[in-house]
Symmetry: D2
Subunit: 410 residues, 4 copies
């Protein structure tokens, strides 16, 4: 197995996940596999479970699945709902749409709320903004019979670069005095953006390994609330692999009922240690600063970010909208071929209109400036007329503001 | 992340999976994660999918899940069956029992055939022998209305060290002229023991990464037949993450609909390359020879193997039954503490009565002799009176018969 | 052993050696150490010896020492000279001066030719230009009695960024009809700049692992000519560890008389394979293009390169002279602390006046642009007034000229 | 770069060095190379220099060379002696002979003391015993004019498996009231056998990385005394690369005057950490126990060890003498081909008569039993009639005596 044989220098993986994996983590996952029933493993299990609680900011159980994030979406629904249950979802972009599609396919009755219409650029309004808590509140108030069993939203919409206000969604549910469970996909938000499972009253948080945790893909998570656990006792969708009960029981000793993903758990232990060493507050501040630099570059180029609400720009990634008539995927290919830089494609309804720059994982000021340089050169080579140099503006910003340790997270 | 800090020398992981992972594979999985939507990934995907077909000896699709083997059990059922369907399963040991329990939990109506009774040693007769094809044929003949939708058996029962005759099961189903699907768990059999998905007419074969493929756990497989694919089109159990249709479609280009387990796929590519270099026939012959050496040692000690039918001894592992009154887990702990050697515990109905020696993965004559030496010393230290030296007998056997390349697999 | 624990992202090692080591090579050196007397080792030895001949462009023996480049300097002298021998050396910078000092210390009588004087910037004239072949010819002509036993020059002067014309030196020696041996230090030139041991009539070429070969430091080389080998038979300086005769004899089977540096030889095999895959011509073209980009940036900043002769700019590194009154090492420290970027210090007579940017090893357009961005930000932060943006100019240049495979080296 | 592609399982490297390198160390040496002039490096340098002092049990400087042990032999002589100096050496085996040859070649006048004669087996008496301190005392007493400038002996003779009593040599020199320097090669003794540079009054201790320190080859050491440092100020052999003075000066900050072997120093830091975690006393006890087990096996086979003086059996390796008429190298080849086990060859005067089993490095009871099993099978396959099973005896011994932490080293 060889990668990138002929090229000189490191590939720049600047998609919004899988993120560039730090060497420390790559080394950890290559340690010899051990007996998942032995005492050394139990200690590892307890360590990663406790560390995940700190990252989700929760006192309640966190479930680790050997599965991708899609599996963790399914797990959240399978554990808490019954066939045909009504679910309220909100269309913030492609990943919200995929979760909606999964719910449909899984035999639920999801309702997909969205901001209507498209804007001047022909892009759907709802894909440029966050979850509209007001619409959710309104819909829940109308559900006098409490048919809706769950509200499902995406925290950080990886397809657009919008980080929704989850606390506002919680307040909306509470204001409507509605008993629905609140389920939040923070697959790409966790460990990049502040996320507070307990404080925000989330019932099931869904996340994955390959974004802020900086691991390869392959494990994903459900963080639970007591209300979600209670719901799982009566929910009637079939569940076995995903079932929380046996996992929670087995986790008490640091073990799992079926074979865990041992080597990725080594990586998770290393990741949690790195996050602990730096401090979550500093981690969040670091991503905010990077995002600010990248957005400044996009503005300097005279281009628009996909997100148009300055309150909800993502610290994790930035969507860059290209002028009409420019095929964003052709630009991406040029950049990939010429500068060995991978960017995220436009997904679903905005395919071909934009690309996405990930600013997460094993990065620093210089790798981000290199990324912006690759974009800037590639845009020009593709015939996009730029208003100015984004690299220059980002250099000025990074030089002016040293990276600082963030305030501690309360 | 550090393992085994204070000890000198390598740990001996001789459980029947996860198997000792070769360095080549550990190195492969630590390569930098790449874009799972990029061209380099597509080539990797096509390569591992083709390689898996060779290992399953099939022309039909093989599905790769980021999941443990338990997930692949669930996937096989979820894709092909409808709520409440009758399924015929056969109790060969603990893993057959776990699959049965999963089917129950998943809303099916599994019937669990078994050989009745216990033997003189107090061990269940069915846990010392393979699948009884005659009993299956008899039961299917009695199912005139064809209510039974699937026959589910375990190829290599990891809890006992018995490798059942799958071709005989196929003949039994055919003899009964019954339309049930044949599903086979070859999680620990694949790539150790000869396994022929197409030739044996298996509809769904289930396997995992952490046994004969010598990978860490974390990915698992369904190999399909056209009949199974047809069944999946009408089956009504909810399925989304496990659904074959989207995966088969996406696999055509070497991609997956949800995020694949990139780094374990690097390991899989390396594993398939290693199996290809050696040749499957040589791989099977190697495991058979090791198993013969280990069984000779058990006989020399004057102990019984768990398997009592010489036609179905497993090439993958050997269960060692201890004399009444000896706690097998205490023996295992002594061996682990004194000689840094992990052995498999007795599971389920035979807990405490036996332990299991894995002879698979990155091993050779000397590591197996070291394993037998650890067992022999630990048994004596635990007060087990041995009839003779198993190490001596195994040395004689290994010295007398050089490892040879096996005959090619037709 | 942990490095760089707290930082996010990769360190930028842009000193002119040790160069950034490719992952392929780091992985190779971590393979298990083998028996240096076994058959597998002999095959490895023959492989690296043949590969080195291709890189030195020679048909004659190449000696590998477990030693730094300084050791290989000493070896060249110890094998060919006798106590008190006169040697003609040329002062091109700090490394030429160190070699001269070593010769003195080693009991030889080195004469150190140099261009006289300093320029307007107060920098020694000879440290901004290459070897002056005319001065050498003149001096050799004056040595009617042929007391001078060797002419020693540096091919790529790592302290200044000047690559001297070795063919011209050869012509000078020939023109003077002088029998002196020609010894050339190409420690930092080999495998970055074109270097032709045989075609240029070099008698001993000295090189090391940690520059163009992209290995960690620890092994170094002497490439020999028949004339040098003949000289070694009568030379009277004591030699044992460095003695060519036993090594050449032992090398015939791929072995060494004393214990070789096994794991670095794994890395060397990988390095030679990488150079072979790319082709030496492409390798040289790649470094020339990078150097052009970096020099363009320096010009755009309004700063001078250390090298003032456009015929001999180094493809390996660029020296950047800072305005009078600016402490170059303070600038370097600022860049290191703020941007995790290591640059080369000014050495010897130009300490504090300049810094050096390495453009070799595991690099690409984007890592070099990141390096220039780090320099540009750090220069500004240090109060250096820049005429323009070097990053911008280098982006334009890199975008305009795709990296191409170079012409084959004849 | 691939090793051992086609084989299953780990190679057994049981030569007496290079020793099996622990994974922790292989991983450490593959960390990215850093700037050897930067602050992070200085901290590393100080750490390894301090750690080495603890291992040599000295308060005085230890010099690290990027060189093999042969280089460190030369360095010890080059720093302290002048051309033509008389040196007294003692023939304990092949490595003592090589050092003697090096001294001759280096322009010294070494005298080579030895026990005369051969024994019944036709083996040289002196190669089966340790340094005879009495002969040294006698010779020094006869040197009334103090022409002898140094006494040079080997601590652990790697070619025979004899560990000489260095304290006795010190007493002999003192008893003779002779001012000669005492130089000791502990290349294969250090960090396996107790070694006390200061307490034993050694002036220069020579060692290497690839034995008890469990590193790959490539760095070697001189531990100094104040008397040796004083001698180096007046000694007149040419020295530059080996010269202690500049290295000692540069080491004060954790740096080196020429490029150090960065990645092997990472491994050295890890090795020193491992030795520190275990404690030197426990390390020595571990090797003694292993050696006892291996010798018991040799006795059980009815064969002789090369060492015939029970007071000086080496804890590092055991030489096994084969019956007359058996070609030991043919036996070794058989063992290598059939069981993937490398053993040490007989060297020099005992070539073909014996082989050597290394019991050092990353080993444990089970790997040593595997090694003995490989030897036992190979001896039988080669037609050697064995009196009994060495494996059985070693199992009994290892089972009877658990490995314990050794007493602390005073």
């Amino acid at each position: 197995m060889k990668l990138n044989d002929h090229a000189s220098g490191r590939h720049f993986l600047q998609i919004p996940g899988p993120s560039p994996v730090p060497d420390r983590i790559l080394r950890a996952i290559s340690l010899p596999t051990i007996d998942h029933r032995g005492p050394e493993f139990g200690a590892l299990g307890l360590q990663v479970l406790a560390g995940l609680q700190r990252v989700f900011q929760t006192q309640h159980p966190v479930i680790i699945y050997p599965a991708s994030g899609t599996g963790a979406w399914e797990a959240a629904l399978a554990n808490t709902l019954s066939p045909g249950d009504a679910v309220l979802m909100f269309e913030t972009g492609h990943f919200a749409s995929l979760w909606h599609k999964l719910a449909l396919r899984f035999g639920l009755a999801p309702e997909f709320l969205a901001l209507p219409g498209t804007d001047a650029a022909g892009l759907p309004n709802g894909w440029r903004r966050g979850v509209q808590a007001g619409l959710i509140e309104e819909r829940l108030r109308a559900d006098a019979g409490h048919q809706i069993r769950a509200v499902c939203v995406v925290h950080n919409e990886t397809s657009t670069g919008v980080t929704s206000d989850i606390a506002a969604v919680r307040r909306a549910v509470d204001a409507a005095r509605h008993p629905a469970l609140l389920m939040v996909d923070t697959i790409s938000g966790l460990a990049c953006a502040d996320y507070r499972h307990d404080a925000w009253g989330v019932d099931v948080s869904i996340s994955g390994s390959q974004k802020g945790l900086m691991l390869p893909p392959g494990i994903s998570f459900n963080a639970l609330s007591p209300k979600a656990i209670a719901a799982s006792r009566t929910a009637r969708l079939p569940k076995a692999y995903w079932a929380w009960d046996e996992i929670i029981e087995s986790n008490k000793g640091g073990y799992w009922p079926s074979t865990p993903n041992t080597n990725l758990l080594y990586g998770l232990a290393e990741s949690l240690q790195m996050l602990h060493e730096e401090g979550l507050g500093a981690v969040f501040a670091r991503h905010l600063r990077w995002a600010e630099g990248v957005r400044a570059a996009v503005r300097a180029w005279g281009l628009e970010t996909q997100c148009v609400d300055s309150a909800v720009h993502s610290p994790v990634l930035t969507g860059v909208v290209l002028p009409a008539g420019i095929d964003a995927d052709r630009v991406r290919r040029t950049i990939h071929e010429r500068f060995d830089l991978s960017l995220g494609t436009g997904l679903g309804k905005i395919r071909g209109r934009m690309f996405r720059i990930g600013h997460l994982g094993d990065s620093n000021d210089l790798t981000l400036l290199a990324t912006l340089a690759g974009c800037e050169m590639g845009l020009k080579l593709s015939g996009v007329v730029l208003a100015g140099s984004g690299v220059q503006v980002a250099m000025d910003l990074f030089a002016a503001q040293p990276q600082r340790a963030g305030a501690p997270v309360s």
